[in-house]
């Protein structure tokens, strides 16, 4: 569903990605791990075209993303839930939920209603507090809102940037738990996480980045609990 | 410093080219007018310039033997520019005579330069009284004026209003001209043993005078003297205040802009200082020719007529002297005679002690009647 070859990107004068390959098919969950500053966020920003790669190619849904606008990709199913969630504090929970869906013009109103209902079931707290301004939700609630907001855009590829940031472990497990069910209904998921152990418990494949390069790659089973992963973080 | 010399050299070159020797004697006449900035100034400047250009057209038609060329500069109603342009005309363009400008402040700033340089200045359409008085005792004085004079028109207004009205109010702008006029009105009335009932001021750029006019009404003012150069503003406020005083004021009230903005009936009966009676003789032809020539841009008959006469006098003097000799032209201007003036300017306007085109006896009061300004009976 989405693949990239030899991605290189720069922020200002410093090189943040040094030749990264990514491959995620429908129904798969890929975890991208690594300590902070390893280039995980830059990878997602390059895939969603917020950051322009100066080398390498990204292919989404069979078409190259070169030169396509961020909002065009987002409307066509390449949904990137950014780091820090970016919930619009002044808008109500419902408005936050609907703002993405409303940009996808090919969605009919009742399709949106159906998706909304599905998201309310997925995260009931959103239904209870639908009219409350987004800014007043707790960290965990905001993360759920951010994920649901992405799902409301009927994504084909869902990219999550560190959902665990600042959340209690059981809340993170609740959120990561939904990934499996999403993958089963045909979604390709890229989960960027620093919390390696948690992520490895909820994905099929994983890759570990360090200083903009991929140092480890393989099926999740082989990486779970491996010392190589710990060393890539802390040595 | 090389870039500076290059710029100046190119300017000097331009001037030399302009005065390339044509066989006929060639004299340049400098004109400084307020051609940009607030409309109150620009209306005066452009109307005066219209008069000057028509006069040049007529001069060339009559085939004057000296070829005259105008060098026109805009002083943006800014005294700093006026001083700089005066120097430029005298020293760089080397013109022997200059006509200008609108703002009295600018004229006061320029006059010493002309007097010291010995180059005659025909001031206009500035109105403040002391423009010629400042140097009249110099022998010779290089400062002339062909425009309305505040003192005369205020004198005429005071005589007329003191005889008819008890409660008189005054509204003036806070510009130099406004404040000077206000003092002269108060002096004039004191001379008649009368006192102004209400005195109000307002900024030049203000949008609305209802506050000030309401005070007039509450004080029961019968006659409002309007010395604010947005001449239409007092009229606009009247309808709302259900107040219909007689309004009188300086020659500015004769601008066609005023009825255009507040309507013919609102200005009916408004009295103003005047130096042009379009109902009679040459003036009427002039009025028609100007209307034909400039259409709606012709908005101030009296200012245009004085511009015409100022230019007519200067051209006649220059033609008599025949060469760019400032002192000779000054004398020619002072002794000029046989002027067929459009405005109330007499045939022999100047004398050694009188450098005013329009003297006290020439100023009369005009009144709006049926959309036209006529002489008050």
């Amino acid at each position: 569903m989405i693949s990239a070859r030899g991605l290189r990107a720069r922020i200002g004068a410093s090189e943040v990605l040094r030749g990264i390959d990514v491959e995620v098919a429908r129904g798969e969950v890929l975890a991208v791990l690594g300590a902070n500053g390893a280039g995980k966020t830059s990878l997602l920003r390059t895939l969603s075209n917020l950051l322009t790669a100066h080398a390498g190619e990204v292919v989404f849904d069979g078409r190259s993303t070169r030169g396509r606008s961020v909002h065009d990709l987002a409307r066509n199913g390449l949904v990137h839930v950014p780091q820090g969630r970016q919930i619009i504090p002044g808008l109500s929970v419902l408005d936050n939920l609907m703002i993405g869906a409303r940009q996808c013009r090919d969605l009919s109103e009742d399709e949106r209603e159906a998706m909304l209902e599905r998201e309310f079931e997925r995260f009931p707290v959103l239904r209870e507090r639908w009219s409350v301004p987004g800014g007043s939700l707790s960290g965990g609630e905001q993360q759920m809102l951010a994920v649901s907001r992405g799902l409301m855009m009927r994504p084909r590829v869902l990219m999550l940037d560190e959902p665990s940031l600042g959340l209690a472990p059981q809340v993170v497990r609740l959120i990561l738990g939904t990934l499996r069910s999403l993958a089963e209904c045909g979604l390709a998921v890229i989960l960027v996480e620093q919390a390696a152990t948690l992520a490895l418990a909820h994905c099929d494949h994983a890759m570990v980045l360090r200083n903009g390069e991929c140092v480890l790659r393989g099926p999740a089973a082989s990486l779970r609990g491996s010392q190589a992963v710990v060393d890539s973080y802390l040595s | 410093m090389t870039t500076m010399n290059k710029v100046l050299a190119s300017m000097a070159l331009a001037c030399v080219a302009a005065t390339a020797g044509t066989a006929q004697a060639q004299v340049k006449v400098g004109v400084i007018q307020g051609l940009s900035g607030p409309p109150a100034i620009v209306d005066f400047g452009e109307s005066y310039l219209q008069g000057i250009k028509l006069a040049l057209h007529d001069y060339q038609a009559k085939g004057g033997k000296t070829k005259i060329e105008l060098v026109v500069y805009d002083d943006e109603a800014n005294p700093q520019r006026a001083v700089s342009l005066a120097n430029r005309l005298i020293q760089s363009d080397k013109v022997p005579v200059v006509i200008g400008t609108v703002s009295s402040g600018n004229v006061l700033a320029m006059s010493p330069i002309f007097q010291k340089a010995g180059v005659p200045l025909m001031a206009g359409p500035a109105v403040v009284t002391q423009i010629t008085a400042q140097f009249i005792n110099e022998s010779p004085s290089y400062i002339f004026r062909c425009s309305m004079v505040n003192q005369f028109e205020i004198g005429a207004l005071i005589d007329w209003s003191a005889a008819r009205y008890k409660k008189i109010g005054l509204i003036h702008s806070t510009t130099g001209a406004g404040i000077f006029a206000a003092n002269e009105v108060q002096e004039g009335l004191k001379g008649k043993g009368m006192q102004l009932a209400v005195v109000e001021a307002a900024a030049p750029g203000v949008n609305d005078l209802s506050a000030q006019m309401s005070k007039m009404r509450d004080a029961g003012v019968e006659l409002v003297l309007n010395f604010h150069e947005s001449y239409e503003l007092p009229f606009r406020a009247l309808a709302r205040l259900n107040y219909k005083p007689v309004i009188a004021g300086p020659w500015g009230l004769s601008s066609t802009k005023v009825p255009e903005i507040v309507g013919k009936d609102a200005v009916e009966g408004t009295v103003m200082g005047q130096a042009l009676d379009v109902t009679a003789g040459r003036a009427r032809e002039f009025d028609e020719r100007m209307r034909k020539e400039y259409g709606s841009a012709y908005r101030w008959p009296v200012v245009a007529s004085l511009g015409y006469d100022a230019a007519q006098i200067v051209f006649k003097a220059v033609d008599r002297v025949g060469k760019p000799d400032p002192a000779a032209i000054r004398d020619a201007i002072e002794n000029v005679d046989g002027i067929e003036a459009m405005s109330a300017t007499p045939a022999k306007p100047f004398a050694k002690g009188d450098h005013e085109c329009v003297d006290k006896k020439d100023v009369f009061l005009g009144v709006w009647k049926g959309g036209v300004v006529t002489r008050l009976p």
Binding site: - | P39, V42, D43, D208, D218, E232, L241, G263
Partner: protein, 299 residues
Amino acid sequence: MESTIVPQLMITGLALGAVYALVATGFYITHLTVDKVNFGQGDFVMVAAFLMLSTRSAAIPVMLAIPLVMAGMLLLGLILERVAIRPLDGRRSSNVGAFAWILTTAGVAFIVQNIVELVYGKSSQYSPPLFSSDRNALVHVFGMRLVVEELLVIATAMLVAALFYLFMFRSRWGKNIRAVAYNPDAAALLGIDTRMIKVAVFLVASLLAALAGVLIGPLVTVQPHMGLILTIKALVVAAVGGLSSPIGILAGGLLFGIAEAGSNYVDSTFGDLYPLVAAMLLVALKPSGLFGERAADVR
């Protein structure tokens, strides 16, 4: 002392205050989204007033004239964004620093003012009332003699402030604008075309200038130099009202209008000075303005 004079002056003050509020709302919307404002907004109002003049002299009915003027102003807003704002994107530390947009928008204002002078001449023009053929059409309200247009402009300003509040906090577009204002990257990821929004806010500002221009015509004499003083007063009103809510700006505008009318009544020589000095003191003491709170959600 006829009792109705003071309230009547207040209405006149409110009317001009309403115009300042309309112009200041134009500052609000662009400042909120791109941290820049059009320093020639007052000149845009002047252009709209002159355009209205052309439609009236071409005997186009008012109801058709207003949309035409607005269309013209939208075009002007488009040109302004393209010429004076977009080229400066991403050039944070150019030599003129982050304020180059003040000078580029002023540059456009100079050009626009010159074009108006060339087309309409430099002197002041009469702009006929919108809804009455008679020049001094009056309305008697509670014994006060008011010009229809004054009530109209106050009502319009209130309507616009209300509509603006609904637009910003209820409509789809309003929410998109607030998303872009909060974080342009996050907004793009939600499928919002941030470039179009940044252009749209300048078009909205031009529409507001058009509305102000159409309404101010009958109240004052229209002339090419009226723009600058409008910009200064609207900037002060925006600062006093607090650049964070349209309602605050409306209140700031009306307050400033009344203060101006009152101070003109009390001491006409310095009438226009007192409100300006008072406003400057207020901004120095409370930089976020009277009604603006440090709105966390907006920035």
